[in-house]
Symmetry: C2
Subunit: 575 residues, 2 copies
């Protein structure tokens, strides 16, 4: 099954979440809707011809350490594809113009990222991580550091990694042990082992800048004593020239369930020269400034693989003929897309992929407004909305990606279990997205503990008002059943949130116990809301499209049934 960038759906989703409003912001005066469409179309053509073809071989061969050179070798075609990707200028699109970027809205960047991740998730991770490095350096680096690194990272000439995790410091990054030592005249030296370093070594670019969290001498223990260092694989002179290899190496590439072409490295830093980025001991806050967008990028990956699953399931169901239906010719088999049970699977993947896209793009729109809205009050409100939506936009689409890949396998029957079908790769690749960049459980806790408010101006109450209003609009349009479910969703969301907020203060374990079911409820509800709002924006007088009605009337009730789990408390989970 060849991936086809879904240009219509992407344009439609961009319009639905308010691309025009974003483009009306002064920061984007240089861009109009047509040029955005043109750029997305051009990128889609590039990706379909240059990137999508390397996905299968990337999975079959994988990246590996060459025993002679000790360096990571990527599968055939990856280095050449990356060279063209950089030559065409694509990495720079979403970055500010003063960093050397094209200054496009983040929501447009997310649309491009969706297409890239759908075509080849492994490949997409390299520029995705470099993007995080750019944000980090753009926000926290000195002018001198920016002069040496930023342009090359924005262009993609060099790539970067996030080196946070250690064997005993995963979800709890504050437990890390990598240390930084300072020697006069020499500067900082980094010692330690980092694991799960995505694209930690490769042959795509001339240099790799590792952003490493480490503990400097005299640092307080825990998460308040961590500093951030830029540690290039090859040393960089004051003029930006490439020097000797630094004292670091990839000691192993992990053998993983999926994303085989993306080298997940164990990196050893053995006195590697590093540069402090930002303030000493303030590495984690610096890191957090880019985490929202990094998390959103992983949500995009979830959406991207749900879209792949959607395309694979639909394509196969239309060509495969098997069985008959009551009332059809007993001598001729029908396309399996005609069987109601298969149609249920097809609508599930279609509706879920569309809801995921709206959720992710809507979050990116909030990110754009939080950075560029000229009204400081609106800017700050958008920041709160983005902060609230990011855990949903990271966790819900990624959980859905695995679930939808599983549905796509099921639609394929026995063929779906064969690697030749290609859907197995979607299933294997998708599974990582619920884990990395913070497990989805961590995001549920982040949502409930840090992002959830119930004041009248809170994002949650804003959503509840939109749900009521959307329900009202659907009711007026004759969509009573859907309106009823959306109304129930508003109620369930609000009273669940009130319960969690009350417990958070008095019995925090109870709030933690309800976090994951609350995220499931909220993610599905926001997806349903955006589908409903899209319908009202379009016209709203006719019936809902089948997939949207299906999502609201048949899938949303299942999420509402998380209500007892949300309020069951921590005591209910102890053996």
């Amino acid at each position: 099954m060849t991936y086809q960038p879904p240009l219509y759906d992407i344009a439609d989703a961009l319009a639905c979440v308010g691309l025009d409003d974003v483009l009306a912001l002064p920061a984007f005066a240089h861009i109009d809707r047509d040029s955005v469409q043109e750029m997305v179309g051009e990128f889609a053509r590039f990706v379909a011809s240059e990137i999508a073809p390397i996905d299968t071989v990337g999975d079959a061969v994988g990246s590996r350490v060459d025993h002679d050179t000790g360096r990571v070798v990527t599968p055939q075609g990856f280095a050449e594809a990356y060279r063209r990707f950089v030559a065409a200028g694509w990495p720079a699109v979403p970055f500010p113009e003063d960093w050397g970027g094209d200054g496009l809205p983040w929501v447009v960047g997310m649309a491009l990222q969706e297409v890239l991740a759908s075509a080849c998730l492994s490949f997409s991770l390299c520029p995705m991580l470099t993007q995080s490095g750019v944000e980090l350096l753009g926000q926290s680096g000195t002018a001198e550091q920016q002069a040496r690194y930023l342009g090359r990272l924005v262009s993609g000439e060099w790539t970067s990694t996030m080196a946070l995790t250690e064997p005993d410091a995963g979800s709890d990054v504050g437990a890390l042990r990598t240390r930084a030592e300072f020697a006069a005249g020499v500067g900082w030296r980094i010692f330690g082992t980092k694991v799960f370093i995505t694209w930690g070594d490769h042959d795509l670019a001339d240099n790799i800048v590792h952003f490493v969290l480490a503990r400097a001498p005299g640092a307080p223990s825990g998460s308040r004593g961590i500093s951030l260092f830029a540690v290039p694989a090859r040393l960089v002179g004051p003029d930006g020239s490439l020097g000797e290899p630094n004292a670091l190496r990839c000691v192993r590439v992990e053998r993983k369930l999926g994303i085989h072409a993306s080298p997940t490295c164990v990196m050893e830093f053995d006195g590697a020269t590093g540069e402090l980025v930002g303030e000493l001991h303030r590495g984690l806050p610096a890191m957090f400034t880019m985490m929202n967008t990094a998390r959103l990028s992983v949500g995009v990956e979830g959406l991207a693989l749900a879209e792949r699953a959607h395309q694979a399931a639909w394509a196969y169901a239309q060509t495969r003929h098997q069985g008959r239906l009551p009332g059809t010719d007993p001598a001729a088999s029908v396309a399996i897309a005609e069987h109601p049970d298969v149609q249920r699977m097809l609508l599930t993947v279609r509706a879920t992929a569309q809801a995921a896209r709206l959720l992710v793009y809507a979050t990116a729109r909030a990110v754009d407004e939080s950075r560029h809205h000229p009204d400081p009050r609106r800017q700050s409100r958008a920041g709160e909305v983005a902060a609230f939506l990011v855990p949903l936009a990271k966790a819900w689409p990624t959980d859905m990606a695995s679930a939808m890949a599983s549905v796509a396998i099921q639609v394929h029957g026995g063929l779906g279990y064969l690697e030749e079908s290609g859907v197995t790769q979607i299933y294997r690749d998708a599974r990582i997205t619920s884990i990395y960049e913070g497990t989805n459980g961590i995001h549920a806790i982040d949502l409930v503990v840090r992002k959830l408010g119930i004041g009248p101006e809170s994002p949650l109450m804003g959503l509840a008002r939109r749900l009521e209003s959307c329900a009202q609009g659907l009711r007026v349009g004759g969509q009573r059943d859907a309106a009823t479910v959306l109304g129930q969703a508003a109620d369930t969301l609000v009273w669940s949130a009130k319960w969690l907020v009350a417990r958070r203060a008095d019995a925090p374990l109870d709030a933690l116990a309800g976090a994951t079911p609350f995220l499931r409820l909220a993610g599905t509800t926001v997806g349903a809301l955006l589908l409903g709002e899209r319908h009202l924006q379009r016209d709203g007088s006719g019936p809902l499209p089948a997939a949207d009605a299906f999502f609201i009337r048949q899938l949303l009730p299942i999420a509402l049934a998380e209500a007892p789990a949300i309020r069951a408390g921590a005591g209910s989970l102890r053996e």
Copy 2:
């Protein structure tokens, strides 16, 4: 993570579904409860020491075709393990004594099969398929065929396959094209290609008997014109002696997502000598007589992998320390099993594995009664119950196996995505069980179209009465919340069934549209019922165990929320 046969849970589940009642049947007068326990224990020790160790290498190496010999070679250790398995007499356990078996109840056979499938799913498939061949031949073979084949299949000296599927005849087996020709003095010759033939070739045994569905000359088209043939890989003389290789071969071993050690073969029959089994053109009815137990065996596999996932998740969560909790020492991390969000995952896998075990064993108990109950009326009622439960026992545990393997991966965090964790193999292996032996969608349709009745004596109404009674018992024991949910489940089950039965007659597509959500509802409900009944059997006065309460109060409501989907009709699924 090493698999530990859960002897306590198995004994407990056997007792709960009524092992004593089964052993009280005259057919089992030669066996008592102690000898059953002893046998399960002995088998568990055998499996833990001889079979479990080959699981990992089986996955890593896989079975393959040797290009020199054209024969399938299994991974190191498989042939030796199989030899010991046969030498110890294990294959014969659940078969009638006049076939050369030990005559133990089927429910005990399922307990053994659970242990074997948990230890190494790939290995377990070989005796599982042979078991189907034994049933087929025992029920439909001539005395002469039985004399030559049955003893050797019962003992496991030879193995057998089910050769049904063809490239264009999967779910619709009636569309098959393999043909049988009859030549005077020569007998039947089989021509055609069969796909997805599990253990179609291997090096474990001296002979492989393929049970092949084919169309004889003059056969009606469709499913009424199919005959069943026994086609041995090596010809068998009238005295049972092994002769020349037959005209058949494995042309390919498929590359699959999982069960790598189980060779999934494309088999070519090029005029192979076959023997008609049963009546001409009556192959499918013959096949259906053993399908109930074959499907139940796949349900056992689902249960077995859910158990593996359960063990892996619990073992890791207790040893991995990460993060702190409100109120704990900020300097010391806690086992992740202390985090409420992880506890939710742990209870989910525990409760689900236990519910799956009860569902599968309860179905096997009904199979035993349907074969051996001395009261013909009770026997026939048990047959109806078994027929009703089999689709649930096949589909629900297998869907849960993949879901629970995914939860186990999530508990492991980043490590869970590495193949070295072992949980990835559970995830990959489990995914086939929802597909083969009839996709789960096919079983949902079978349930709704053929097995669902709403008369007062129907299995469904029997379940509804048990739900009411269990709810009442829990209410008396002070478990009001759980009682309420079980009462709601009874109501939802009954009115969903009534709606489906009404539509089945008037608008069959609507019934087909509701099949899968109805199966989800029914599977979860029966699991919850059995957990509740187990509690009442034990004593019933205290609170429910945490996992059981969790299943009934937090998971069952989600299945009840399938109600709108069940009754939405086929129109809701059309774009």
